[in-house]
Amino acid sequence: MTATSPVLRHGLSHALFHRVMPPRLRRFSRHRVALIAAIYLALLGVIALGAPLLASAFGVTPDEQNILNRFASPGQVVTLAQAQKEQRVETWVSRSAGDAKHLARVAKANGWIPEAVSEEDAPYEILAKVDTGDLAQGVLAAAQDPSARAFGGLISSFEARHVLGTDELGRDVLARMLYGARVSLGVALLVGLCAGGVGLLVGCLSGFYGGWLDAALMRVTDALLTIPTLPLYIIFAAIDLRKIPGLNALFDGESQSVLKLVVILGGFTWMTIARVVRGAVLQVRRAEYVSAATSLGGSNTRILLSHVLPNILGPATVSVTLLMGEAMLIESGLSFLGLGIQPPVPSWGNMLQNALELVRSRPLLAVMPGVLIFSVIIAVNFIGDGLRDSFDPRVRAE
């Protein structure tokens, strides 16, 4: 055998290539659209995580309403009315009385306001100076004193740049979309994890142990698969889970609708994953390395965890990915119907709740969240497709 044989040479460079990059990742990255989709989703994920930072950079929050400022056009800078400003200062003073007193002393010491101003009037006086331009906002923000900085933060929040405008309650659309990304992506991710976990468990038990356990689990799976899901989701979303004893503690608080949706969607979508996993386990169980492990005296748990599980992760990942896309589709639909994520928690779906009435007057409000939902679902589907290609041995042969 000579080292110059073309077959071997090809083999060598191939081996080198394999070492540089894991084969699955390489095949996945060959699927260029899937790669772009993955980068897009990663970017959105980072943006979702950094939502508070981005929102505060524009001086906006997702929940703050301002009836005087409904349907602001994109890019508009909005300043609160005088009465609104004073009201907010009043709330601040009553909430942090100590800070207000301290602020008055600091302001007089620095000569921002005359000595004669009473302690109660001091914050309003500072506000007036800032408004007239006698005192720069930067001075407050750069102050050594924490109470002055806090007050500076309050004053800077009176001016908001609404990059994408405001909605029917005067809430900033960009901030709601950013925070909505957390909810919408988070729900999809959590549903994927829940359904993936249940599906993996059921599929593994069913495929690996077989017998009556398999029969029982598969009957349940089949029965659940025949039920049309949408009416079921509507029933579940409409009922009050807190009426079921023992669950009331679980579904309390503002974000209860998020949790509820995750539980409902997770509870009725694991079946497809269970079937995929079961099929894969049945295939792997016949493999020689499994019988080798059995004859070496490996316990069932060991074989399942270290021989079967790693080899079925491929198809399982594909179906979980596709499921996340579907979860997002359902979440947005239910939230649109008013049954999913409940306001004030923003989600891309519930931002479209009033879209039908706004089609004529504010088309952008009806378009933007939908474009986000659409783009994310299509990205997830592309990734699922890319993953399938990279895990499918038949594609590998071509």
């Binding site: 049309p228 949408l230 509507i234 029933i235 649109f336 089609v359 589907n381 592309f382």
Partner: protein
């Protein structure tokens, strides 16, 4: 075969009764007991009245008894009375079921008319430009939220172009008859059918393409080509017939969703179908309507599942049922 049908039918009846039991239980968890609601809207009602009314309608009984009462009424053909519409449920359902069936079936036919040729062509041009574009469109159709697509269609076709009405089932106040009536209905149905078509067409394109590629790889197709059979005959008589088998199942399953699949689309377009009825009656706590409509939806799915399996056996003699 006969025993198989009997067994499957029994199983379907069992699943349906289980589902109706569970859904009955779930609805009793929904806020708003009818007598409680009466009391809230009528301060003059005395506690004795509440007790009397609850006893009259059997609401004081435990849940299994209430379910048994409801079931025996339904089996005897008494579907109950709608609380919101103030008419017997039977009056309400007929039109709604018909409306939804017309909507779903036209969308199904339309999407098959488009998807079959596109899928076959894309399988023949596997890897080519046409395949690429149709794949991309199929991806889009599968990923777009139907409700948003509906909103966008309303925006473009009804607000800007003024081609179709934004919602409804027929022009109110004008009782068209005959052909004019049909044309009027068609105008209102166009957009919902379009939305429904786009979202299910994608699945059919992908199935047709996959099944055709699989069928074209078979040995008998190569043999037919080697014999010199004309290409169109190879494609349609040898490959397409085999590709149809999985497709028939998919279509039969889709027929099962004929009543339940269009809930969101009907809601967006205010189309008076059974899906909208299910949604509204569940939200309004109109239990009689919700229970019947919901269980018809599920019964349809179970029936079509059975038919799909039987079609499978009829089309592929290799499959037999024990």
């Amino acid at each position: 075969m006969f025993r198989y049908v009997v067994r499957r039918t029994l199983l379907a009846v069992f699943v349906l009764s289980l589902v109706s039991f569970v859904s009955f239980g779930l609805m009793s968890l929904m806020p708003g007991d009818p007598v409680e609601e009466m009391r809230m809207s009528n301060p003059e009602m005395r506690p004795e009245d509440v007790v009397r009314l609850k006893a009259l309608h059997g609401l004081d009984k435990p849940f299994p008894v209430r379910y048994a009462n409801w079931l025996s009424d339904v089996v005897q053909g008494d579907l109950g009375y709608s609380r919101t519409y103030k008419v017997p449920v039977t009056h309400l359902l007929g039109d709604r079921l018909l409306n939804t069936a017309v909507l779903s079936l036209s969308a199904l036919v339309l999407s098959l008319l488009i998807a079959l040729p596109v899928g076959v062509l894309s399988a023949l041009r596997n890897g080519g430009r046409f395949d690429y574009v149709s794949n991309l469109l199929a991806f889009g159709g599968q990923s777009v939220p139907p409700f948003w697509l509906g909103i966008m269609f309303i925006m473009v076709f009804s607000e800007h172009l003024g081609l179709f009405p934004a919602g409804g089932t027929q022009t109110l106040g004008q009782e068209h008859t005959g052909f004019a009536g049909l044309a009027d209905r068609a105008k209102y149905m166009a957009l919902p059918v379009l939305v429904f078509t786009v979202s299910q067409m994608a699945v059919y394109v992908r199935y047709t393409r996959g099944a055709m590629i699989e069928a074209l790889r078979q040995d008998h197709v190569r043999t037919a080509r080697a014999k010199g059979v004309p290409e169109w005959r190879v494609v349609f008589a040898h490959a397409f017939r085999n590709a149809l088998i999985p497709l028939v199942t998919v279509v039969a399953l889709a027929l099962g969703g004929v009543f339940g699949g269009a809930i969101i689309t009907e809601q967006v377009f205010a189309y008076q179908g059974v899906g909208k009825l299910v949604y509204e009656s569940i939200l309004a706590g109109d239990h009689n309507v919700a229970m019947v409509a919901f269980n018809i939806t599920i019964g349809m799915v179970l029936l079509m599942n059975l038919l799909a399996d039987l079609c499978y056996a009829a089309l592929d003699p290799r499959i037999t049922y024990a």
